[in-house]
């Protein structure tokens, strides 16, 4: 019996948003009479935390703390159109729509504040704490609470805005394939270290070191959630998962969580996550979509590490103990 160790590397990029664009998302933003802000969308939070991120984006743009923003989403009677939550598009597309809507609302807010303070709107700034200040004369200020009250009951202004974000659809040229698949790309490089039992073909992933470049970590803890969970799923794809274990044979497809294999809490690799931020030109505060690409580089990194350990290439996913054992036996012969 021998436990053999190996390591492998992989580097990838991933497009943000629907391939070839053409996937719009809209947002509406308005203030309540007391200066809280509602973001209205029809985008879907799948658990990745879209509602929280949209609140932070709106708050940053308006210039208020996040807890003064409420996101009302995924109701087709109230929310304007969104293509949907997929293709790493949620943060990028909806985020841009929210920024546009919030900017419009902010402009009205500043205009009302300017009337109250008897200055030009262009001379005003927000402090991020809920106040509007005159640039260079911060003692002259008004709270957003008071501005919203004034807008509603005194000046008859709607502090609101509309946002729409659309990457125009690109149509591939038939013969050359010239096209614009995406406007921005996230990046990653993963190094995986594995142990392979050369008598059983069993693989243990010891460590994965993942470096992700995601444009901007809008909320670092939530980015970490995605990246840690994605890294786990990548390893899972590499070694465990399929609905058709004997593909293309259709038999023996798993129908429950006992048969559909995924790493359990006792199978976790020591996982290191490092994040770089190169803001994208058209991302909301530079953000790209991190949710999908984070599960990709582990797969080839693990495959390459298995080769490094035992000298056999498994070019078919998943890299099961059976495939490794068959390859080892073929190699021995």
């Amino acid at each position: 019996m021998a436990i053999r160790r190996g390591r492998g590397v992989a580097a990838i990029n991933y497009p943000t948003g629907m391939n070839l664009g053409g996937d719009p998302t809209q947002a509406l933003v308005h203030s309540t009479p007391t200066g809280n802000f509602m973001v209205t969308l029809s985008s879907v939070d799948l658990g990745q935390g879209m509602k929280q991120i949209m609140a932070q984006i709106c708050a940053e743009t308006i210039g208020v703390p996040t807890d003064r923003v409420v996101v009302d989403t995924a109701d087709t009677d109230t929310g304007p159109h969104c293509m949907g939550t997929f293709a790493s598009r949620g943060t990028h597309r909806a985020g841009n729509a929210v920024i546009q809507a919030a900017k419009e609302a902010r402009q009205v807010m500043l205009e009302v504040a300017a009337e109250e303070l008897e200055v030009n709107a262009s001379d005003l700034e927000t402090d991020g704490q809920g106040n509007i200040l005159v640039k260079g004369a911060p003692q002259k200020s008004i709270s957003i609470f008071d501005v919203a009250l004034s807008a509603h009951f005194k000046r008859g202004r709607s502090i609101s805005g509309r946002g729409m974000f659309l990457i125009p659809r690109s149509y591939p040229e038939k013969e050359t394939g010239a096209m614009k698949p995406s406007t921005c790309y996230a990046h990653a490089c993963t190094v995986a270290e594995v142990e392979v039992d050369d008598e059983t073909g069993e693989v243990t992933v010891l460590t994965v070191k993942n470096v992700f470049e995601i444009g901007r970590a809008l909320n670092p803890k939530m980015v970490e959630q995605q990246l840690v969970g994605g890294s786990w799923m990548g390893i899972s794809h590499a070694l465990y998962e399929t609905t058709e274990p004997y593909y293309p044979n259709r038999d023996h497809g798993g129908t429950d969580f006992n048969q559909y294999l995924m790493p359990g809490p006792g199978d976790l690799a020591e996982t290191e996550i490092i994040v770089l931020e190169r803001p994208s030109a058209d991302g909301p505060y530079g953000a790209k979509g991190p949710g999908e690409m984070c599960a990709n580089p582990q797969i080839p990194a693990v495959a390459n590490a298995v080769f490094d350990a035992v000298g056999v290439r498994i070019d078919t996913l998943p890299i099961t103990p059976e495939r490794i054992l068959r390859a080892l036996k073929a190699q021995a012969n």
């Binding site: 580097a11 799948l46 932070q56 939550t85 698949p181 803890k221 293309p248 931020e277 999908e292 990709n296």
Partner: protein, 455 residues
């Protein structure tokens, strides 16, 4: 997790108030107290349960369907077949002109995969619906089926789906989406080594802990509220409107609290038939996939085959790359023609290669239709590309990480699909990985930058 702020600091503003802050998630308190309301956490008086009678065959003609015993079963309120669906065509990508309309909501005359929906039973209880479903009699004439993509593409293979007339999707560019850049054959001729390798994957399930489903409530005013865990509200609403030939103004979709999606809840499968059931019975209807259905009936990530042929120089430069990708769509298109063509835009990976040839095919077989999943069109391609990169590096006796630096794309490099590279950061990711993993590379690679070509 560590944020390495030293990279790209010159192009990033870090003085923001809310962005970049690890604010607590607003939804977590609901999650930890069990108060978050998922679609199924609603209960409506008189709610009916919908169970689907599914094909036991991979490919068969339906000679007849007899629902009479099922309709008489105690507790059964309605039994639906193809003739009950106003526009019995699954229209998923028609709104963005991708199409095609190659699938029915309930099988009409034929089934093309094991598990295809044939008859919907609506009953007072799940048990009654299950019992009645067992009493539906469908007379099938079993037809030859094909499961292997290579077999499916051979002349004389059983035709999976008559809509297409052949077992592949026909793009405007022909049988595949093509990218042609430079002269790939000249590249192979010039190369010191040529390596052609084939990679394969099997279908993968999203396996969200919450299965796909919806609850539809008739509002009494000709409107229907559909509580759903779809990933795309209007996508679903608009498709339902077409299928049911019903103005979209009659439909109200509520969702956005989803127990995991990963791409698996993009197909518009459960909502149209559940709304039809609610319309025809006047009762609330619940249609939620069982775990077995989620695992074997809901669309998986497609199996893919990727063939990569590379020409590489001894000094590490890849001078030609030819990729042929096959996406196993199963019996119907759903999102697969889109996914296969997304692959064409992704190859040859984040590397600058002067001569590239890409063909991506969307192939039909008699299996569960595949569709979108996290990394759609790219995940399996990246597996193939990055294993191939490892093989190439070893072939020329070069460190695999250094080999990638030599070929990594940088700002301004022209990609095969003729877009200049912008915002590249692959090199910096590899530099940081080199440090984090204690995998040293030559100093010249650590000195490289995505910003400017040439160091």
């Amino acid at each position: 997790m560590e944020l390495r702020k030293s990279y790209f600091a010159d192009v990033r503003k870090d003085d923001l108030h809310e962005i970049g802050q690890a604010r607590p998630r607003s939804d977590s308190p609901g999650h930890v107290t069990g108060k978050t309301a998922f679609f199924a956490d609603r209960n409506f008086p008189g709610m009916l349960h919908l169970k689907m009678v599914r094909s036991p065959h991979h490919h068969a003609r339906i000679r007849s369907i007899d629902t009479s015993e099922a309709e008489k079963h105690p507790g059964v309120v309605k039994v639906l077949t193809a003739k009950d669906v106003p526009h019995n065509v699954y229209t998923i990508l028609i709104l963005i002109q991708v199409g095609p309309e190659d699938e029915t909501v309930l099988a009409d005359g034929k089934v093309r995969w094991r598990g295809e929906a044939v008859v919907a039973v609506l009953a007072e209880t799940e048990r009654a619906a299950q019992e009645a479903a067992a009493k539906v009699k469908v007379d099938y004439e079993v037809l030859p089926a094909v499961f292997d993509m290579e077999e499916a593409l051979k002349p004389g293979a059983p035709i999976v789906n008559e809509y297409h007339g052949q077992n592949y999707y026909l793009y405007d560019s022909g049988e595949c989406r093509k990218v042609r850049f430079g002269d790939v054959e000249a590249g192979f001729a010039e190369a010191d080594h040529v390596l052609e390798q084939s990679y394969q994957s099997s279908p993968i399930e999203h396996a969200p802990t919450e299965t796909t489903g919806c609850i539809v409530v008739p509002e009494g005013n000709d409107r229907f509220t559909c509580h759903t865990n779809t990933q795309a509200m209007f996508f679903t609403l608009d498709n339902t409107s077409i299928i049911l030939q019903m103005p979209g103004s009659k439909l109200h979709f509520v969702g956005g609290t989803v127990g995991g999606g990963f791409g698996g809840k993009v197909d518009v499968i459960v909502e149209p038939i559940a709304i039809l059931g609610a319309k025809l019975t006047g009762r609330p209807v619940c249609f939620v996939y069982s775990r077995e259905e989620e695992m074997q009936i809901s669309s998986p990530r497609a199996a893919e085959k990727v063939v990569i042929k590379d020409g590489v120089m001894k000094d590490g430069r890849i001078v030609a790359r030819k990729v042929t990708g096959y996406t196993d769509a199963g019996a119907y298109s759903r999102h697969s023609p889109y996914g296969a063509q997304k692959g064409a835009g992704h190859y040859p990976g984040p590397y600058t290669i002067p001569n590239v040839w890409i063909d991506t095919y969307c192939v039909y077989t008699n299996r569960t239709p595949s569709s979108a999943m996290r990394g759609f069109g790219v995940t399996i391609g990246d597996f193939a590309l990055e294993v191939q990169m490892d093989k190439l590096a070893r072939l020329i006796g070069m460190d695999p990480l250094e080999f990638r630096f030599i070929n990594a794309y940088r700002d301004g490099d022209m990609k095969a699909h003729r877009q200049p590279t912008e915002g590249a950061a692959l090199i910096e990711c590899m530099q940081e990985a080199s440090r984090a993993a204690n995998w040293p590379v030559a100093e010249k690679y650590m000195a490289m930058s995505s910003y400017v070509k040439g160091t």
